[in-house]
Symmetry: C2
Subunit: 354 residues, 2 copies
């Protein structure tokens, strides 16, 4: 299990309303909890999950059902507050930085006779943490990626093409990492900027081909583009060891908190020092976590908006340290799947979820 | 160097014409070779490079300049004849099979409440070797990828959507690997099938979003798609050890052949046995290599055209065996770049390449 990517128990996207709006849902929850003698509830995810977990934790006060709810942080978006980072993010960061470094070597070797510009699209619709992580690959001037396009910085086509032109002039090639959530000055997603299929339907997703088109139209340079999508967040084969240790630690801490009777909390990672990176596990109240997003500080992005600062690098770098290779079988990572056999239902399915 | 992806010496795309068509080019080559006392010429690449290397090798016979030309095979397309495989391919194969396995786990865990279909686009415009390699990840029924779309099999939208529908019904999700070179019955690339940007310009590349659109239009299923592009062929971090050993071996053999005075040849990998995989280095005449492509045999593709056969699996599996991790520094693979300082020119640039 420790070596397997993805959510082993599957995924739940049910959005619990407030107690006032749908009391019946909460009553049903208590019915089910009571029937199965459930006293502990663990919920693993990001901001939305923290909110759901907080709501369920309130059953103990508002509806007199004794329950201990602990939220276990996990999101590649890295946007939970209080915790130093979110399990999952460090491994995505290691993957995207590695990938754009590797593709950068490829483009650099092709650039004199063929492809000059490479565009990699990464996740993070609201916050540029993953885009920023790509920047770790550029340790010396001229190294890929030379340009990062953050969702926090409105896209300016003229400034962008000037930067690409300048980069190709100086270094012979240009590698660009772009967030799926890149927007123009009017707040419109570039990925929605009018790409249509043969039937005239808007083509969803894919900001990389849009950026690549701009490069071709305005600069007449040969380009390639990639969209990492699920590959980035499932890439267990190149997980960050730091991330794996932290993921395990918050899970363990969640159980310990529950056993100690702590309701409505979330274990967090506390950075004790940067160099060397030392961390421990702390505890946050769920009410301080739910519905609050951790954004990229402006001073993590360079003045021109196209790269990360040293401050950002100092924050990100420890999170990708160390390798934690999975076992291999037949030349491929050996991953396991739980059977996920649910306990037998004790109640009739009386309640239709709305 | 052994751990670094990409072409260390850069890339040359100059297409040499036949001796009859452009004698001046050949005369200039001899001038340069003579000025620098060049007696050995090594050329590393695929089919086009083999053709160029063959043409240069003929200088010794047709123009009386003593030269030894050896072609060193390397192409992710795996389409050179005679050799069991082409260095580069085994590592791409390992990367794409790993990636679609990992993304498959992700989709499977999301499928009950969200994304049902995942599409990964891979390289190989003319031959389906890389698409076939994705199939290695599916070792048991229901495992990702359940569908492969080969450039060798004309795309039939109705048969495809029926297969996706059936797969989602049986296994809850569907992972698809598609070749960038997928064509319809009229031989038209699906990636050229009418995707236009806001200006009405044809959008180049990207068959994955086209396939994803079909899934959405016809089956109303939620999807994600990825385009691996350069990531796949630069992914040194998950290289196949077998591939790395073979790449080194053909390079070494090329030097040995040259020293022994063998002109117009290419070292090849000879499969001595399948299980266990045993191989040695042989020699092919360049005239038997140039301008001949190794296609996927039809019996490597299943009858319904959507997967690989056991025969194909037996061929591919040995090529991805073993890991050969690069060294890491600061949490990222440590790659090196040659300075590539050319020797001083001895002749004036008298000849303008056409």
């Amino acid at each position: 299990m420790r070596h397997t990517p993805s959510g082993a128990f599957g995924s739940c996207r049910y959005k619990l309303k407030g107690l006032d709006e749908n009391r019946a849902e909460y009553e049903r929850l208590i019915e089910v909890f009571r029937a199965h003698d459930i006293g502990y509830f663990f919920y693993n995810g990001g901001g939305d999950s923290a909110d759901t977990c907080l709501k369920i934790s309130q059953l103990s006060e508002t509806m007199d059902y004794p329950i201990i709810c602990v939220h276990v942080p996990k999101t590649v978006d890295n946007d939970l507050p209080i915790t130093d980072t979110c399990p999952g993010f460090g491994s995505v960061a290691k993957y995207v930085a590695t990938s754009i470094r590797e593709a950068g070597f490829d483009v650099a070797s092709m650039a004199r006779t063929s492809t000059r510009v490479f565009v990699l699209e990464v996740m993070g619709r609201h916050a540029g943490w993953i885009t920023a992580a790509c920047g770790l690959a550029a340790e010396r001037p001229g190294e890929a990626p030379q340009i990062l396009l953050f969702p926090e910085i409105a896209f300016d086509e003229d400034r962008f093409t000037a930067k690409v032109d300048d980069t190709v002039g100086k270094f012979g090639f240009c590698a660009i990492a772009v967030s799926e959530g890149l927007r123009d000055r009017d707040g419109k997603f570039l990925s929605d900027s009018g790409l249509r299929d043969a039937f005239g339907h808007a083509q969803l997703g894919g900001v990389a081909p849009v950026i690549a088109s701009i490069v071709r139209e305005k600069l007449k340079l040969k380009y390639h583009w990639a969209v990492a999508d699920y590959l980035q967040r499932a890439a267990r084969h190149i997980a960050s060891k730091t991330d794996v240790l932290q993921a395990y630690a918050v899970g363990k801490a969640a159980v310990e908190l529950a056993v100690r009777g702590r309701n409505a909390v979330m274990p967090v990672i506390v950075r004790k020092s940067g160099r060397p990176y030392r961390w421990s596990i702390g505890v946050a109240d769920l009410k301080d976590v739910a519905n609050r997003e951790k954004h990229m500080p402006r001073d993590f992005i360079s003045d021109d908006g196209f790269h990360i600062t040293g401050r950002c690098r100092n924050y990100l770098s420890p999170l990708i340290q160390g390798e934690d290779y999975p076992p291999y079988s037949n030349g491929l990572p050996h991953y396991v799947r739980l059977r996920n056999v649910a306990v037998k239902k004790k109640l009739a399915t009386a309640f239709a979820l709305k």
